[in-house]
């Protein structure tokens, strides 16, 4: 499969995530759009790892495996991020009784 297809698929998913972050005001949906962007990046990393493998497998049978390890670590960081982020959203809801991000300025007071 040509790498261009994967590049454009990932770019499309990433831009849908960006548009979601910009248009929605519900904090949980913004958070889900961030997860969508992370997954678009992961998909591109795996595709590039297989591209590198296809180019270099004669010299190094493990070529490109670092990309997949990196995806694994991104998933780890995303799990930790979701854990803290949802705690922040729960705290926001408890303080303002809404998940509208425009009310976040109330946390200043």
């Amino acid at each position: 499969m040509p790498i261009n297809y994967y590049i454009f698929l990932s770019v499309a998913l990433f831009c849908i995530g960006v548009a979601g972050v910009l248009t929605r005001r519900n904090a949980i949906i913004i958070f889900m759009c961030i997860e969508l962007m992370l997954n678009a990046t992961n998909l591109l990393l795996v595709a590039f790892s297989k591209m590198h493998y296809a180019n270099m497998k004669v010299m190094n049978p493990n070529a490109g495996i670092d990309g997949q390890i990196f995806v694994f670590f991104i998933m780890v960081v995303a799990a930790a991020e979701v854990c803290v982020g949802l705690a922040i959203i729960a705290m926001l809801y408890r303080n303002t009784h809404s998940v509208d991000v425009n009310f976040l300025n109330r946390l200043k007071h």
Partner: protein, 166 residues
């Protein structure tokens, strides 16, 4: 048109449609379900690229654990479409234009990139199997793997500190 091509296009179209539905759904629960759909299609792409370990981890960690956490929080807050904050129409249009402009810039920049003859190998290749990934992870990346446990511990402590009543 081979089976691989057909599966690629099918998974891509379903992924993009589901991603759009994540953004436009009024009900947050529907958004979560569409996002699970996106994760399933991305796992399908991983299987197509023969990255079997990542496909399974993506399903277990993302579609399983993280999305259940999202659903749990949404149901805890009893959100429905009535409480969905309404936004200024012009701001929505501006957001869509912003995302579309980013898409346009990235596609225009990458269209003529020197990747025409590069192939992402599908259906074969051993590097995505858990045997090879495990060997590399515990031989070359043992220290980052251990540091990950500290990261999880700090995230755990952070979530508890943020979540507790003052």
């Amino acid at each position: 048109m081979s089976v691989t091509h057909f599966l690629f296009w099918f998974l891509s179209i379903v992924a993009i449609f589901s991603a759009i539905m994540v953004v436009v759904s009024k009900n947050p629960v529907h958004s979560v379900l569409w996002l699970i759909m996106v994760f399933f299609t991305i796992s399908g792409h991983y299987v197509l690229l023969n990255a079997q370990f990542l496909a399974i981890v993506n399903l277990i960690v993302y579609a399983g654990a993280i999305m259940v956490l999202f659903l749990f929080v949404i149901m805890l807050m009893n959100l429905n479409s009535d409480t969905e904050p309404q936004k200024n129409k012009w701001l929505k249009i501006a957001g869509v234009i912003g995302g579309g402009a980013l898409l346009l810039v990235l596609v225009a920049a990458l269209k003529n990139a020197d990747t025409k003859n590069q192939i992402a190998q599908t259906g074969s290749g051993e590097i995505g199997l858990i045997h090879n990934l495990g060997i590399v992870l515990f031989r070359d990346y043992a220290l980052p793997f251990e540091i990950t446990s500290v990261l999880f511990l700090s995230a755990l402590v952070g979530a508890i500190v943020i979540g507790k009543k003052e």
